[in-house]
Each structure stands twice: as structure tokens, then as C-alpha cells.
């Protein structure tokens, strides 16, 4: 076997895995605190990507492609994602905190469908598009139609470009994704371990009732958890847009499901686990696509193998690879 081919797959796997990891952190952080599987988290990732595109269009009427647009878009994406997540927490999940387990899960499906449809219907040049609601007929800019998988803006120095080392192609967008994951991971580590809010999060995760007695505002901590997850999902949304050039309103479902697999794989509730799980899942998916021979290999079956892995992990190792906490999901 050609080693360059293997290393190329390794790089592709790590890139894909970084994307999964960024989303997976959102599942894990929320689960760690209120034992809720926020099934609609994949849609936050999707909303983030569309938020970034929207920011670019609003600010970039002259089609700006300079590098400094990237942080601006990041702010826009994070803002939209975090706002969506907070609204979702406040109006859909919080009232159900003491309800039977079935209720939040069904709510999550509802939110998921709602957000997808919301973007599909109201994001675009259609008469009732969001921008027309705000600006009336005299719109200064026009969103591309979300139904037609709009192109993500290309940013100079990040989109498209690549260099080759020893036969392995490294795309700038892929490097951006991996670097973003590393930075987010480091940032999250300091946030959780070195700040008051982070330590309050840890305390709440260990024992919400005692944390409340110690003067921690548990409701606020839960909102922080949702916001942190949403911010990372927004970063993932941008990374996805840069890498695959087109974004789609349906992309949150599959990405969310795979990121959830990653979170469980690493041990749900464990932030490091989510990162490790994401990377492992990305590697497995890419390697399976590349190396499973015969008719059952190839991209037609890759989602089947990802789902099969999800089932196997949930059934045989629900505590995950790092096994941070024993999960009893009754």
C-alpha cells in the first residue's frame, strides 16, 4: 500500500474528526450538567454556518474576501448560534426539566424540524425572507436561497489553497479546522478549570443541589453550558463551510448524529472524551470508506458503518472509551 495514500487518509480523517469533535463538545457539556441529550444540537451547527454566511453578506456587499472577514464572520456565527441555543433552552427545555425523559427528546425532534424549516423558508431572496421583514422592500442586500445549498464565501488564504508535503495534500481549510479545534480545546480547558464560571459548571455537574446550596445560580450555569456548546458548533459551521464550499439547511441532522456518536464514543459528559471520540470517529469513517474492499466499501456505505458504530458503542460501551462516568439511562 502506498504510504502517501494512507497518510492522506489519516489527514482527511483527522480533519473530519475535528469537525465532529467541535460539535460533540456541545452534546457533552450540556449532558454533563443536566443529563439532557440536546438532540437539536446539530441544527445549531447548521444555524451557525448560515449565520456566518449572513454576516458576510450584510457586511460584505463588495464581496470582501480578505482574511479579516473571518473573525467578523466568526462573531456573527457565534452570535446567531448562541442566541438560538439560549432561546431553545429557555422556552423549550427549561419548562420540561422535571418532566419524564420522553418529553425533552420529543421536544428536541420538534426543535430540530422547526429550525431546519425556519432556515429553509425564511433564509433567501423570497418575498417573506428575513431581510425583507426587517428592511421592507428597499433591501440593501439579498440572502442566497437556503433551498439551493448556497455557496459559502471564500476567504483569501483559507479557502481553496493547499500545499503538498511528501505526496500528502494539506488544504488550508483543513488546517483551519484542526487549528480551530486545538484553540477551542485549550480555551475550553482554561475556561472550565481556571474561571469562576467554569468551576461552578464543574460543581453543578457533580451535584446540582449542593451547588445551588453553595450559591451557584444553576439556571445560569445551564445557559452557559448551552452557550459554550453553541459557540463551538458555530466554529464548526464555519469550518464546514470553508471546507465543503456549500452549506445546506439539512446538514445539521447527519452531522449532529455523528457528533453525538463521537460524544458517546468518548464518554458523554467528558469534554476531553468528546474531542478524542470525534477524532476516532472521523478516522474510522474515512478509513472505512478508503480501505473496506468489495461492494460494501466506498462512500455509498460509509454512513451505514457510522450508524453501525453508533449502535455498537451505545450497546456495548455506553460509558465510552475514556469511561468518565457510569451511565444509567433509565
Amino acid at each position: 500500500m502506498d504510504p502517501a495514500y494512507f497518510f492522506q487518509q489519516l489527514v482527511n480523517g483527522l480533519t473530519l474528526g475535528s469537525l465532529f469533535a467541535l460539535i460533540a463538545v456541545g452534546y457533552t457539556v450540556v449532558y454533563g450538567i443536566i443529563q439532557l441529550i440536546n438532540f437539536a444540537h446539530g441544527e445549531i451547527f447548521m444555524v451557525g454556518a448560515f449565520g456566518a454566511l449572513g454576516t458576510w453578506i450584510i457586511l460584505g456587499r463588495a464581496e470582501i474576501t480578505a482574511w479579516w472577514m473571518l473573525p467578523v464572520m466568526l462573531v456573527g456565527a457565534v452570535g446567531v448560534s448562541v442566541l438560538t441555543a439560549l432561546l431553545m433552552e429557555r422556552f423549550a427545555y427549561r419548562p420540561l426539566r422535571r418532566a419524564p425523559r420522553l418529553a425533552p427528546l420529543i421536544t428536541a425532534i420538534g426543535i430540530s424540524v422547526f429550525l431546519q424549516e425556519f432556515v429553509r423558508l425564511f433564509y433567501g431572496p423570497i418575498p417573506n425572507g428575513l431581510q425583507r421583514l426587517v428592511f421592507g422592500d428597499d433591501i440593501p442586500f439579498e440572502f442566497p436561497d437556503a433551498k439551493a445549498a448556497p455557496r459559502f464565501p471564500s476567504i483569501e488564504g483559507v479557502s481553496g489553497g493547499s500545499f503538498v508535503i511528501g505526496g500528502v495534500t494539506l488544504q488550508y481549510a483543513a488546517i483551519f479546522t484542526v487549528v480551530a479545534l486545538v484553540l477551542c480545546w485549550i480555551g475550553l480547558y482554561f475556561f472550565v478549570n481556571r474561571t469562576r464560571v467554569g468551576r461552578a459548571m464543574q460543581a453543578t455537574a457533580q451535584d446540582p443541589d449542593t451547588a445551588r446550596l453553595m450559591g451557584i445560580d444553576v439556571d445560569r450555569i445551564i445557559m452557559v453550558a448551552f452557550a459554550v456548546g453553541a459557540a463551538l458548533a458555530a466554529v464548526a459551521g464555519i469550518a464546514h463551510g470553508l471546507q465543503y464550499t456549500n452549506i445546506e439547511f439539512r446538514m445539521g441532522f447527519l452531522a449532529g448524529l455523528k457528533a453525538f456518536t463521537a460524544a458517546v464514543l468518548g464518554g458523554i459528559g467528558n469534554i476531553n472524551g468528546a474531542v478524542v471520540g470525534g477524532l476516532v470517529l472521523g478516522l474510522v469513517e474515512v478509513m472505512a470508506t478508503a480501505f473496506i474492499p468489495g461492494t460494501f466499501g466506498g462512500s455509498a456505505w460509509k454512513d451505514v458503518w457510522a450508524f453501525a458504530l453508533l449502535i455498537l458503542v451505545l450497546v456495548f460501551r455506553p460509558q465510552g472509551l475514556l469511561g468518565a462516568r457510569v451511565v444509567d439511562r433509565a
Binding site: 423549550a92 418532566a99 424540524v113 431546519q116 424549516e117 456505505w301 450508524f307 456495548f316 439511562r329
Partner: protein, 575 residues
């Protein structure tokens, strides 16, 4: 969680008289307003432009007003004259509140529909505004009435003939209503009619007749069920050989049969299955492959009875496979495992196209040209004439599906009342306790999956012939979500609830075509709102209602059961 109360009992006692008067004025306005024009254009709803000549929709508004008037007058003038034993037969104030709420919703729908259909609120004429104001008055006034605790009519014993006559009248009325509603093309009128029916049903239940009906018909349950089926069988004869409504009706029945199967898994055993559509798909694909279609990869074409059984068995084997992880996972994880299975099913069906895998399902194009059923020489594809009425193609399938759904209901009801059903309830409420009590937890869970899957497989076999073609993209996750929504909307664990939920979810999109674009948006919102405000569904089983409202002691006292998990607090003197 306690909600802030604007109208307290104290205020009610003080201002009850004023409230009655305000509500009375509102009711009189509601009765009078239909004689005024409601809209400027005759295209809105069913022509409400005349002075002195109410349209059918306006008559519905009048009926609500009249019902409110009856409730209010009866509460003030009839009740004090009755002997003490009969004073609490009816809950007139509770009924008045319910019907006033319904009237408000009705008038709001009318105003919005006129505005939408004619383009703007300016098209609502003064009568429409007066009616809305009357409804607002009635609504506000009835909030101040002191509601009766319970209606005691349910304890009154009535002669058998009366009960049977009432059953017959109710059934006949619902047949006419369904036939009429399905013929209604105007979306505004259709929704107004739905709201009216909802208001009428709630009024009847609240005022005390519901208690009477359920306690009296309990004696005549077989009569009730037979009457319901007779009505369902009579439905095609009201359609004059037209296929249009029958096609909707068959879709509703297929959906309802599948949802009932899911209800066994979710409603009875409490196992959330998000991949249930895969069983319907498995049944449909098996039937399609064995149908003798030119696109089928298998030449064998057995009689339909055999095909149905094979479909059911294949689906239930899949059910066993999907159910087997329940030994180790439960709750949210189980839901996601089933979701993953459902997606794997769809992807495999797409991939078995002879290119990415063995050829079995013709890939994403699916299997078209499935021949119509032919049972014992009865060709389902041809129209037949029965009793002088032409029975078109879809009506043939309708009868078959009705038999199927009857079968599902019999299975469901018997399982629910059996040792197995009680085992499921025990597992749902506390798995560990159930196991300790000797319930075969794993076996019963597997049985729930296999049984539910069998029913869906059988429904899928009929669906394949009904739809003529089977493709993998009919069996996406969203369809599973729809099935789940039917169960949740109607009421988990109840037969009637799921039938109502399935009917609403399949009928609404057909009738509200203009709404098509926003259908899924509304669907997502509906799930969230239902879970927030009425998680037990429209027609709740008592036990479920208690599970979802554990801390609501009033409800527990009302239904005479103790909420699970709530500690029994004995009064001091009882010890």
C-alpha cells in the same frame, strides 16, 4: 411549577354575578351577530355578506352562542328549582367557560381567515368585529364564574334504549359530519368547522354529558364499537363513487394502523422507537418484491395471504434485531439506537441496487408497477357496484384497511388488558421494580418490538399495493417523527387518541394546501408546544396524565388514583 393566577377563587366569589351578566351580554351578541354581514367579499369562506341571512359557518357561531346562553340561563334559573339531588347533575359554569373559549377561538379563526382570503383585516365587516367582541365579553365574563367541582350525571342510571339511541345518533352525526367536512374545499371553513367540533366536544364533556356517556356506554361497549365500525364501513357509500376523498381516507387508515402499532411500543411499553417507519418499509418492500412486478428481483409471486404473513414476519424479525439492544440500553440511548437502525434500513434499501451491493430493491428508484391486489377473484383495481353505489379503487383498499385496523385494535385492546399489558406498564413505570416482582422484562420488551413491527409490516404490505410503487425515500426519519407525533398528539397508550392524532396529522395537510409550505414548520412547533402544555395528548389515558403531572394533587384526587411516586399523606385523624 405554579402558574400565576389572575382570577383567584376569592375574586370569583366576589364578582361571579358581574361575570354572569357580562357573559350573558356576550352570548346574546354571539347569537345576534350572525345575522349581520361578516365580510365585504363573497369569496371569503362561504359568503358571509348578507344582512339577516346567516351562512352555514355563521350558523355554527350562532350555535356556540346559543349553547353558552343555555348554560348561563340554566345555571341561574334552572338549578335552584331542581330537587337537591339533581342540582349537581350538570356542571353548567364549567361548560359555559369551555364553550366561551371555543367561541373566542372560532371567531378569531373567522376573522383571520377572512383577512387572509380577501387580503387584509379591512375586509372584515362590522358584524365580524361585533361577533369577536361578543366572544371576548363571553370569554372574560365566564372566567369569573365559580366552576362546579364535578358533574354527577355519570352516576345516574339510564334505561338501555336511551343509551343505544344516543349511540346511534352520535354515530350517524359523526358520519354526516365527516362526509361534510371532507367535501369542504375552503380552508377557512374547514378550520372553523374543526374548531366548532372541538368546542362542541369539550362542552359536552365539561357539562357532564361526557361522564354520563362514558359510564353508560361502558355497559354497551360492544354496541358502541360495532356502531363505530358500521359508520366507518358506511363512509364510502356517501362518496358517490368518487376516488378523491377515499384516497385521503386510505392514507389516513394506513397511517393510523402503523401509528397504533407504534403505540404498542411507545404507549404501552414506554420504549421510544424513532425508527419505526423501517418496519412499514420492510413490509412494503417484501410485498413489492413478491408482487410479481417487472422490476422485482425475485420471480416468486405467492398469494397475498402468504405475502402478508412473510411481510409481517420479516418486519418482526427486524423488530427483534432492533429490540435486542433493549437488554442493555434504555431511555434516550435506545431512542437513538432505533433511529440509527431506521437510517441503516433506508441506506441499505438504497444501496441494494445491484451496483453498490446485491440487487434486491432496485436502489433509490424503488419498485414501481406493483399490480393491484386480487383476493379470491375480487380485483381491487376495478370499481365495483354494491347496493347501487359505485365503489372505486381506493374504496376497495379502504375496506381492506378497515378490516386490518379492526384487527390491530383487537390485538391492542386485548394486549393492554392482559398480563402482558400490565407487565409493560410495570416496566414503563419502574423497570427495576418490575424485574424484582418477577416480570420478564427483556422478553416483554422484545415482544413489544416484534408485535408492533408485525402490525407495521402487515400494513406495509397493503401500502405497497395501494401506492403501486415503493421507494426508499418514503421511509425517512421524518416519517418516523410523524408517526411518533400522531401517538403523542392523540395520547400515548389510547386507541381513540391515536386514531384522532393520525387523522388530524394526515387530513390537515390534504385540506390545507395553501399551508403546504409551512406544514413542517408548524409540525415542529406543534411537537414543542404539545410537550410543554399537554404532554399526555389530546385524549389522555388517566395513568399517563398522572405520570406527566406528578405534583398535581387536584388531578390525582379527581381521577381517584395516586400519582406514581407521590407519597401518600394520610390525614392526621386517620391513624
Amino acid at each position: 411549577m405554579r402558574r400565576p393566577q389572575i382570577v383567584t377563587d376569592e375574586r370569583r366569589r366576589r364578582h361571579g354575578g358581574t361575570g354572569w351578566l357580562v357573559a350573558l351580554v356576550g352570548a346574546v351578541v354571539l347569537v345576534g351577530a350572525p345575522y349581520l354581514p361578516w365580510a365585504y367579499g363573497d369569496e371569503a369562506m362561504d359568503d358571509m355578506t348578507y344582512l339577516g341571512g346567516p351562512s352555514p359557518t355563521q350558523f355554527l357561531g350562532l350555535a356556540l352562542g346559543a349553547a353558552l346562553l343555555v348554560c348561563l340561563l340554566a345555571a341561574r334559573f334552572l338549578v335552584p328549582r331542581l330537587p337537591a339531588a339533581r342540582r349537581r347533575w350538570f356542571a353548567w359554569h364549567t361548560g359555559a367557560s369551555a364553550v366561551a373559549t371555543g367561541a373566542l377561538a372560532f371567531q378569531a379563526v373567522v376573522v383571520v381567515a377572512v383577512a387572509l382570503e380577501l387580503g387584509g383585516l379591512v375586509n372584515v365587516e362590522y358584524g365580524g368585529w361585533i361577533a369577536l367582541a361578543g366572544a371576548l365579553l363571553a370569554f372574560a365574563g365566564t372566567r369569573l364564574l365559580v366552576p362546579e367541582r364535578t358533574a354527577t350525571l355519570g352516576r345516574v342510571h339510564s334505561p338501555g334504549w336511551l343509551v343505544i339511541v344516543v349511540i346511534a345518533v352520535v354515530m350517524l352525526g359523526s358520519l354526516l359530519l365527516i362526509a361534510h367536512a371532507l367535501d369542504e374545499d375552503d380552508p377557512g371553513v374547514f378550520i372553523a368547522l374543526l374548531v366548532f367540533v372541538g368546542a362542541a366536544v369539550v362542552l359536552v364533556l365539561r357539562v357532564g354529558l361526557g361522564g354520563w356517556f362514558s359510564s353508560q356506554t361502558a355497559r354497551f361497549r360492544p354496541v358502541l364499537v360495532m356502531a363505530a365500525f358500521l359508520v366507518a364501513f358506511a363512509f364510502p357509500f356517501t362518496q358517490d363513487g368518487s376516488n378523491a376523498n377515499m384516497s385521503i381516507a386510505t392514507q389516513v387508515l394506513i397511517f393510523a394502523a402503523t401509528a397504533l402499532g407504534l403505540n404498542i411500543v411507545v404507549g404501552l411499553a414506554g420504549l421510544l422507537d424513532l425508527g419505526y417507519i423501517a418496519f412499514l418499509g420492510a413490509g412494503a418492500f417484501v410485498a413489492a418484491i413478491l408482487s410479481g412486478s417487472a422490476f422485482s428481483a425475485v420471480g416468486w409471486n405467492p398469494p397475498f395471504i402468504v405475502t402478508v404473513l412473510i411481510s409481517g414476519v420479516v418486519a418482526s424479525v427486524l423488530g427483534l434485531i432492533i429490540g435486542s439492544p433493549t437488554l442493555r440500553v434504555s431511555g434516550d440511548y435506545l431512542a437513538i439506537v432505533t433511529l440509527a437502525f431506521g437510517e441503516i434500513f433506508r441506506l441499505v434499501m438504497i444501496n441494494l441496487d445491484g451496483n453498490d451491493g446485491p440487487d434486491l430493491t432496485n436502489g433509490s428508484n424503488g419498485i414501481p408497477n406493483i399490480p393491484d391486489l386480487n383476493l379470491l377473484g375480487f380485483d381491487f383495481g376495478e370499481p365495483h357496484v354494491i347496493l347501487g353505489v359505485e365503489i372505486p379503487r381506493f374504496a376497495n383498499y379502504y375496506f381492506l384497511l378497515l378490516v386490518l385496523i379492526g384487527l390491530v385494535i383487537v390485538v391492542f385492546a386485548n394486549l393492554n388488558r392482559s398480563r402482558i399489558g400490565r407487565g409493560w406498564v410495570a416496566i414503563r413505570e419502574d423497570e427495576k421494580a418490575a424485574e424484582a416482582m418477577g416480570v420478564n422484562v427483556f422478553g416483554l420488551k422484545l415482544f413489544a418490538f416484534a408485535g408492533g413491527a408485525f402490525l407495521a409490516g402487515v400494513a406495509g404490505a397493503v401500502k405497497a399495493h395501494h401506492d403501486i410503487s415503493v421507494t426508499p425515500d418514503q421511509y425517512v426519519f421524518l416519517e418516523s417523527a410523524f408517526l411518533l407525533a400522531a401517538v403523542v398528539l392523540g395520547g400515548m397508550g389510547t386507541i381513540l387518541g391515536v386514531l384522532v392524532g393520525a387523522t388530524l396529522l394526515r387530513l390537515m395537510p390534504e385540506k390545507l394546501r395553501f399551508f403546504d409550505e409551512y406544514r413542517l414548520l408548524a409540525f415542529g412547533l406543534l411537537l414543542v408546544v404539545m410537550m410543554r402544555f399537554r404532554p399526555e395528548g389530546l385524549i389522555a389515558s388517566r395513568r399517563r396524565q398522572l405520570e406527566f403531572h406528578e405534583d398535581d394533587e387536584e388531578l390525582a384526587a379527581h381521577t381517584g388514583e395516586t400519582p406514581p411516586g407521590a407519597g401518600r399523606v394520610e390525614p392526621e385523624g386517620a391513624r
